[in-house]
Structure formats: C-alpha cells, structure tokens
Subunit: 158 residues, 2 copies
C-alpha cells in the first residue's frame, strides 16, 4: 500500500512544557493533568517516553499565552504533590507535521521527513506520531522553512 | 465545545523498542529510521521526548514478529553509527487509545483517562496524543481490562 501524503503543516502558536523527573508510578499523570484541566489549560500534544531508574519526563504543549498560568499551576503545589523535580518551558518551538494515510506500513515516510530536516541541520526536539500524522517539534525559527523543504521532499510543491 | 468520545481501542500486536541515550543532534533520527525502513520494519508509534545533557531516548513500536529483525538491524551497526548506548525491547505491552474529537480544547478528557488507569493501578509507560486520539502504552496483561474501565468512565458501556 503506497502512502498518501496530503499536507505538511506547522504550528507556531504553542509552547513546550516539560515536567522533569517525575516518579513513574500510577497516579502521577492523573494528578498532573487534572490540575491543568481544572485551571482550564488547553493541553494539546502530550509526550511521555519510558522511564529509567523509576523516573521519566512528561512534556506537553500549550498555547503560548497559557505558559505563565501553567507554570503557576505546577509550581503552586502540583510538582511537589507528584514528587517531580522541576518544570522547564520553551516558548521558541514550532510543530511541523506530515499528514497523510497509510504511513504505518511505510516506514520510509518518517525516514524521509527526518532526513529532510537533518539535511538542513534542523534538530528534532520531540517526535509524536499517529497513523495519519508524523509531528516533530523543532526550533520556532526553522519551522516555516522546514515546511518548504518537506513540501519539496514529498512532491507537494506543484 | 464538548468533546466527543467515539471509542476506546487496544492493540496487543506490537512490541516496544527503545534506543537509549542517543545524541540529540540532526541526523540521528534520519539514520535510525532509514535503516529500519530499508529492512522493511513496520514502525508504528514513534515517541521522542526532549533531551537532557544532549542525550535522549527514542522509542517506537513494531509488530511483535519484527522485534528480532529490529534488534539485528540496530545492533548490526546503526547503534554505533549514531552513537547510541544500547537498545531495549519489551514484548509485553498493550496500547490503549481513547478516540474522539474536540479533545484539544478539553484537557479533562486526558485527565479522566489517566485517572481511570491510576484508580486501577495501571501504570502508564508511554503517552502520545493527537487531536483525535490519546494513546497510552501499558502492560499487556492490563490492556483489555483498561478498555473496560475506560468504556465505563466515558459512558460507552450502554
Ligand atoms: C509517568 C506517569 O505517566 C505514570 N507512569 C502514571 O501512570 O501516571
Ligand atoms: C534525537 C534525534 O531526534 C535528533 N535530535 C535528530 O534530529 O535526529
């Protein structure tokens, strides 16, 4: 099944928040995201990778206008409640996504996306995928440029 | 905008692979996933969180029948080429997903999913989200049970 690449999108409206060194035990994500939900923080992308030595990081994106609120919620008690070490935020990100279908059975699509960014020295800060979308967080200053390179790589220039 | 939860799904057909301590510089993901693509490994979910001290982990899922091939590809040269420390695999995972719409502006949906798992002592090993899907990797032995609890939590029992 050939993959169908429909579009390359980018989003510069969000900031990245990372809760660093959270204990990897049931209840931690629940407490963290319930506190954010109560404060009406619009969490978009959530990424958590596996833990090492019982600790992991949880990153998520929020509209940039909500970073201060997010920090207040976390530093106002949640971090200590869940036993996390600290929170780090980064307002200078862009999320670039390749959107399509049939990508699961076509590992070459992700490879092509990553090669295109690498060829232009654009570092990939976070990766999150679904069956129809491969999203990479990159530096905000490179996001629009990345979209152009990816349009070319996937033949969407015409 | 109220969120619409359409379904809770689970997938027990895949295994988790983590490439541990990869240098966080352009080209690493490209080399890794091009090598896997050439070997025709069907990579599904990819998760990479932010780096600390210049290193991060890259995890991905593959059909369980391809874990051995994946390990051979990685240990056969790719790991050393990219400067990664080692690879770890886990065949005992299940991916549980809440599928819906309008979830981005409804942080309570993720909180409810995580609280439901926590209430049943189901540890969340990885998290990856899109606008229409929240996916958690949990232990394989708890995945089917997790779906039942989530059906109830989201009122999909009827
Ligand atoms: C790290 C966090 O996801 C934790 N494992 C939990 O289940 O809440
Ligand atoms: C870690 C890996 O994603 C690296 N940052 C790259 O761009 O390839």
């Amino acid at each position: 099944e050939r993959p169908i690449i429909r579009a390359v999108t980018h989003d510069l409206s969000e900031s990245k928040v990372t809760v660093i060194d959270v204990p990897d035990r049931p209840g931690v994500s629940a407490q963290l995201f319930r506190a954010l939900a109560r404060a009406e923080v619009n969490v978009d992308m959530i990424v958590q990778n596996v833990s090492e030595e019982g600790m992991t990081d949880i990153s998520f994106t929020v509209p940039s206008e909500q970073v201060e609120l997010t920090r207040q919620v976390l530093e106002g008690g949640v971090l200590s409640e869940i036993g996390a070490e600290r929170v780090s935020t980064d307002g200078s990100i862009g999320r670039v996504s390749v959107v399509g279908a049939g990508m699961k059975s076509n590992p070459g699509v992700a490879a092509t996306m990553f090669e295109t960014l690498a060829a232009n020295e654009i570092n990939i800060e976070m990766i999150s995928t679904s069956a129809i979308r491969i999203s990479c967080v990159v530096d905000a200053s490179r996001a629009e440029e990345a979209v152009q390179y990816l349009h070319t790589a996937f033949g969407l220039d015409g």
